[in-house]
Subunit: 356 residues, 2 copies
């Protein structure tokens, strides 16, 4: 059945008694072929197990159908945080369903950054990119713009509004989280924020506007910063404890884990002594004790939509909008104290508030 010898279009054509061009038409599903010929060619293809050489095709058509995913060096969190695996999963689904190939570019150091750019740009290998960096001082974006490489950014961008991007609604998410704490009656609501990237900024913005909308003023002493690691959450919380907050909105579940450890060491009970709300709704949120009230973002969908968007761009028809911002939802579990009065702590119990 399957003959191992690598065949070419030409040879398949010879076997079917037609020209290379005709075989190419069959392979690519073009119209205007006499059914019997199409069938004959198809049979030869099936019998020989012919597969077109992708490199030759790409070279001739000036289209590789390979898209790249760039994960910048800033993201050391790759190990710790299920965020990237989830996102990659979504992107991979998108890639598969669009018959593309995914090239993964992980940048491990500033030095590799240059190398990566060079190996992507102007080599014809990559049709387009998905860039996950939303670090503020990013060097990639301007470079991509300059070289006119089509790309979609995951997250928010400091650059032009013309950049295609898909993001989750960080502002709304942290607004909800904060408002939830306010509505539960907490008075001294602190936050562990991040100022390294745009989503960090947005989450802080949401926190602030919830305060503003409730006629409250943000107390700078109740704002500390971390960097998305467990440790940074731990240390931030240590800093916070002397300020005696009665609730903390921690802008990532991973940091929340560290924060709760600090709380535990200080013999403060969650949520009785201090309420905690996280962000991300990644597995650690459920594994935590008590389980974390947190903001869930559709990470996998983000990746999938980014691919769809890129595909549209590559195919020439501009997507309707340059920006997609996906809604998030608040997942209420035990750590915020809202369920304190409820029946019992059934392991899977949770309430959900849809945004938008």
């Amino acid at each position: 059945m399957e003959i191992m010898k690598k065949l070419t279009l030409e040879e398949v054509g010879k076997l079917a008694g037609v020209s290379r061009a005709t075989v190419s038409r069959v392979v690519n599903g073009y119209p205007h072929i006499r059914p019997e010929i199409r069938e004959r060619v198809q049979r030869v293809i099936d019998e020989t197990g012919y597969r077109p050489n992708l490199l030759a095709r790409s070279l001739a058509s000036d289209r590789s159908n390979i898209i790249g995913l760039v994960i910048p060096s800033g993201a050391q969190a790759v190990f710790t945080d299920p965020y990237f695996p989830c996102l990659t999963q979504g992107i991979s689904r998108g890639v598969n369903s669009n018959n593309l190939t995914l090239a993964l570019f992980m940048v491990h150091s500033a030095k590799e950054e240059e190398r990566t750019i060079l190996s992507i740009l102007g080599t014809g290998l990559i049709d387009g990119l998905i860039v996950t960096s939303d670090n503020k001082g990013d060097v990639f974006i301007p470079e991509l713009l300059k070289h006119e490489m089509p790309f979609v950014q995951i997250g928010r961008s400091l650059y032009s509004d013309k950049i295609y991007r898909v993001d989750t609604d960080n502002i709304a998410g942290s607004y909800m989280a904060t408002q939830h704490l306010i509505s539960l009656g907490y008075q001294r609501i602190a936050t562990i924020a991040t100022n390294r990237n745009c989503s960090g900024d947005d989450r802080f913005t949401g926190y602030c506007s919830a305060f503003a909308d409730h006629g409250k003023v943000v107390d700078r002493k109740l704002v500390v910063y971390g960097d998305y690691t467990v440790d940074s959450g731990y240390h931030a919380m240590k800093q916070l404890i002397p300020q005696r907050p009665d609730a903390v909105f921690i802008t990532s579940d991973t940091m929340a884990l560290g924060g709760m450890r600090a709380l535990q060491e200080a013999n403060l009970r969650v949520p009785d002594d201090i309420a905690v709300v996280g962000y991300d709704d990644l597995p650690p949120a459920v594994q935590a004790n008590p389980q974390l009230t947190t903001v869930r973002q559709p990470i996998e969908q983000t990746g999938f939509l980014a691919v769809s968007m890129l595909v549209k761009i590559l195919s020439g028809d501009d997507p309707p909008s340059h920006q997609i911002v996906l809604p998030v939802e608040l997942v209420v579990r035990a750590s915020c104290g809202a369920t304190r009065l409820k029946s019992t702590s059934h392991p899977i119990q949770e309430d959900t508030y849809q945004a938008n």
Copy 2:
């Protein structure tokens, strides 16, 4: 400086007053070029920002310098488990330092399996593969063998001994873990095992041989199975509790997390009522409470070495050995009870026993 127009070898040659072939030689660092000519060509390259077209090069040289990483559908754990991110990180480092490009093939369903195979095999796109599956009923390996696609497997294989692979020493690791519990004097040492893949088998083997070497017999009632998820660990432990074990060797940290939750719900204290040892030494191990005694495997190094091995294979010189098995180490923390009598529970305190 950098002219955006996409140049070809031919055009660079014209600018430098030499032929395409000569430019090619300069680009690829061949000898036998008059220094002044080399310099002149190099200057034109620098000034124009010429980059060779990788597709054309690949087609002409029959070598794409792209290697694929296959993550099979079995591995839904991708989200939960930092294992894959770590491994990918190592592979990515290897890829970068060998000037390759990494293509990521995630298979999300059995249906996609076929599609993936077809898009990899016989298309000329991929020079070689790294396959992470060690699922027993794997369909990839035989297919790769049949098509003579060079590949390195991460993990153990049921197939031929001729398969190139790199693995960690699962047998030694679980032997150490089990022996450690035995030497601490525990009498009823249970295990939460896995029988889905080879590493699961190996870890169970190690558990058994530690028993054998100490003249003990494995009690079947103290052996239950999970599937590497938190939930399965939870349920497995539920099953185990009625058997009254005084120690449990759980063959993954992720399952250990679930197991410890079950223990907590049953009001059993770790390690006082029951000792726990995990496997993997992933971040959850440290985040657990108490911190987990566990077996650490060099995951990132595994990935890196797999790439090195593949590069050797592709370059034609057969690697000295078909198999690399990396040593693992036991990391002693609080959950096994060994540190119970020691000074205090300093957060980073841990002892380490090197294997091999």
